[in-house]
């Protein structure tokens, strides 16, 4: 009896010590394989001659050379830069403004907040399709305003290769700024009332209060919004696909659509893998410094 009792205790100890690891390990193993394993596989494929099927003959940097001499890839990169910067700035500015306005304890705030937040409930596919119709010169805004009598009104960005990427920005900002507003609103509400009252007693106006006191306090929210928006922007695929299909021509291609078209429409797995690796490198370049600064902070 006594033997079995101590045996039980030992077993309990064992469980106590190892259960968490046992529970976590399948998940750990699958992420290791399906995330990091496939990243490694993709990197390897990008150094091979793979075409329609994976081909494991090593071919050095040829796929990268091919990638960087393809004009379409350069267009995709330029678009990514334009889209990401304008999308992040636009969402931040509009989101912050909306949040500050909502923060003035206005009436029926709940309704207004829902109205602004609602676009986030739609998928990018829906947003893209809706804006495709709104911006289509023969169906949407241009047609309506011309119908109102302004014959010379012209708004054909969607079919103008130089401007089309900005229509993607418009649709993206429309979709995501409400969400950023919600983030900021939560941040603003968490600021201690006492501080604001103290500022008011000291005679600070609203601009000074927000600019010098509240916004510095909610600084972490800027970081969260930046991280969320930037990854939305870099992986943006569905919005572009639904809104412009990468067109006109390939004027609104971004790296994600480029990769898709090379891997699945062109049978060029190698080049597609090289472009995927370039995207990974880009993301790493943004996130590593960020994560580094974030992870260091709690140590104090």
């Amino acid at each position: 009896m006594a033997g079995s009792k101590t045996g039980r205790v030992v077993f309990d100890r064992f469980l106590e010590r190892w259960l968490p690891q046992i529970v976590v390990s399948p998940l750990f193993a699958t992420s290791l394989l399906f995330v990091y394993g496939f990243i490694a596989w993709t990197v390897y494929i990008s150094f091979t001659k793979s075409g329609v099927m994976p081909n494991y003959t090593f071919s050095g940097l040829s796929q990268y050379i091919r990638l960087w001499t393809t004009p379409r890839w350069l267009v995709a990169l330029e678009n990514l830069f334009i889209f990401t910067s304008l999308f992040i700035i636009g969402c931040m500015v509009i989101g912050l403004l909306l949040a500050i306005l909502l923060d003035q304890r206005i009436r029926s705030e709940g309704v207004v907040r829902t109205v602004y937040l609602y676009p986030m409930a739609l998928s990018f596919i829906v947003t893209g399709t809706a804006w495709k119709w709104i911006l289509n010169p023969t169906l949407g805004i241009e047609k309506i305003i011309q119908g109102l009598g302004f014959e010379n009104f012209n708004f054909d960005w969607l079919v103008d290769p130089k401007m089309a990427i900005y229509t993607v920005v418009i649709a993206g900002i429309w979709q995501s700024s409400g969400y950023v507003m919600a983030l900021f609103l939560a941040g603003l509400r968490s600021v201690d009332d006492e501080i604001i009252k103290a500022a008011a007693i000291d005679g600070a106006g609203p601009v000074r209060t927000y600019g010098s006191i509240i916004l510095p306090i909610v600084r972490p929210v800027f970081f969260s919004a930046f991280v969320i928006l930037s990854h939305l922007a870099i992986k943006s695929f569905d919005l572009v696909m639904a809104l412009t299909g990468g067109g006109p021509g390939y004027a609104t291609d971004v790296p994600a659509t480029f990769m898709y078209s090379f891997a699945f429409q062109r049978s060029e797995l190698g080049t597609a893998a090289a472009s995927a690796v370039m995207m990974l490198v880009t993301i790493t370049a943004i996130y590593v410094p960020y994560l580094y600064s974030e992870l260091r902070r709690p140590a104090k």
């Binding site: 379409r72 021509g249 004027a251």
Partner: protein, 415 residues
């Protein structure tokens, strides 16, 4: 896991069938992306015919335009060592898979039924790998068609043009009258379709040099610059909402009299017929300028499967696909014409008859050429580069000379 299970299924099917009759008709799994109304009906006729012969048909339809999704599925199946017996595959894609050693040949069926003598030689060569048939064609689509609304042309008193100069003159008239001359969908493959019909108007030899043999001089030379000049002209004849439009919406514009012309393969005819329009009266079909014929053909390639049952199934399917009866019923449903040149066309409409007549003439004149835009002429890789350059030209203000040079560079890069 999947392959084990389907192997077991195959074994079970074989075991069930063995006592009855040995491999009557066999088993085929057919992977295709004919999922829209007319297409599904067309593939249904094949299934029925196959089952009538006592075979077992496993249908694997994979939705998704252009077959990208199907190709992804196929890649996964081949890598897992469990390919379907027959796959809807076309053009140089057949050679690509054959190069990977993934295809079975059906040479004995082809020899016995004398495919060589009933298929146009340039089509037959696409179906062969190392001189053996590895695929069977089901139809021939003509790509270089103009679909015309005669009522709209009558409004400006114009005739159907036969050269690009005439076309431009008619289009200018239409434009002056406030009518969109050319209905066009601004998707890369549609831009490329228009582009290749202009290339053909410069002669079948030039077409072959540039779009099949990928000759650098032809790609960057004077003639190609002229082709781009004409394409630039056509860009001026489309309406502002063309970007990203689907081809069938462009067809509808011609149908409703919003536009006069559309340059599109004969699958557009299906749209007209489905709307109850009569060829020759409500709409006209006319070849685009030039004397030639750009073809696009659907076909089934036979993958390397094991088991006598499945191999037997492949043979039966190959023979069925090439049978005159099937080619007739299938193409009546799909809107194309039979790949066999000896099938009677009594039941076909005037456009199909014209297509067949031009086909025979062009084969004789050596002007029967495979479509670049529809993956009949060159590998997908190179085709993609063509599409990029052409669509970029169509949607920008690039000069024709720059476009020709960019085209030559792009093709060199992809090879």
């Amino acid at each position: 896991m999947l392959s084990v299970r389907s192997l077991m299924a195959a074994v079970a099917v074989t075991a069930l069938m063995l006592p009855a009759s040995s491999y009557a008709g066999g088993t085929v799994e057919v992977l295709h992306w004919w999922t829209s109304g007319g297409e599904a009906k067309a593939v249904g006729t094949l299934k029925e015919a196959f089952e009538k012969k006592g075979g077992t048909w496993i249908d694997s339809p994979i939705a998704g335009g252009g077959g990208d999704a199907a190709m992804t599925a196929l890649r996964a199946r081949v890598m897992a060592g469990n390919p379907p017996a027959a796959v809807q595959l076309k053009g140089p894609g057949i050679q690509e898979w054959a190069d990977q050693g993934s295809l079975n040949d059906v040479e004995d069926v082809a020899k016995a039924e004398n495919w060589d003598s009933v298929l146009p030689p340039s089509l037959a060569s696409i179906m062969k790998y190392k001189d053996k048939y590895v695929a069977a064609p089901v139809n021939i689509h003509r790509v270089d068609w103009m679909w015309v609304n005669p009522a709209v042309l009558a409004k400006v008193g114009a005739e159907v043009p036969t050269t690009w100069e005439e076309f431009n003159a008619v289009a200018d008239k239409l434009k002056a009258a406030g009518i969109t001359p050319l209905a066009h969908g601004g998707q890369p493959w549609q831009d490329a379709t228009v582009f290749e019909t202009i290339v053909l108007s410069q002669g079948a030899d030039f077409y072959r040099k540039a779009l099949v043999e990928l000759d650098q001089d032809a790609l960057s030379g004077e003639t190609m610059v002229k082709v781009f000049d004409q394409l630039r002209k056509l860009r001026g004849y489309v309406d502002p909402g063309f970007s990203g439009r689907d081809w069938n919406l462009a067809t509808a514009m011609v149908m409703n009299g919003e536009a006069a012309f559309q340059i599109m393969g004969d699958w557009a005819k299906g749209e007209f017929l489905a709307a109850g329009k009569v060829p020759g009266k409500d709409f006209l079909c006319a070849p685009t300028p030039g004397n030639g014929y750009i073809f696009n053909a659907d076909s089934f390639a036979f993958f390397k499967v094991s088991g006598e049952d499945q191999i037997e199934g492949q043979k039966v399917l190959a023979s069925l696909i090439m049978s005159p009866e099937f080619q007739e019923t299938f193409n009546l449903a799909k809107g194309s014409i039979p790949a066999r040149t000896d099938v009677s066309l009594d039941k076909f409409d005037s456009c199909a008859l014209k297509s067949h007549e031009d086909l025979t003439a062009s084969v004789k004149n050596n002007a029967f050429v495979p479509s670049m835009a529809h993956e009949m002429a060159i590998p997908r890789t190179v085709r993609g580069e063509f599409l990029d350059v052409v669509t970029n030209f169509f949607n920008s203000d690039m000069s024709s000379a720059d476009a020709a040079k960019a085209l030559a560079d792009a093709v060199k890069r992809a090879q």
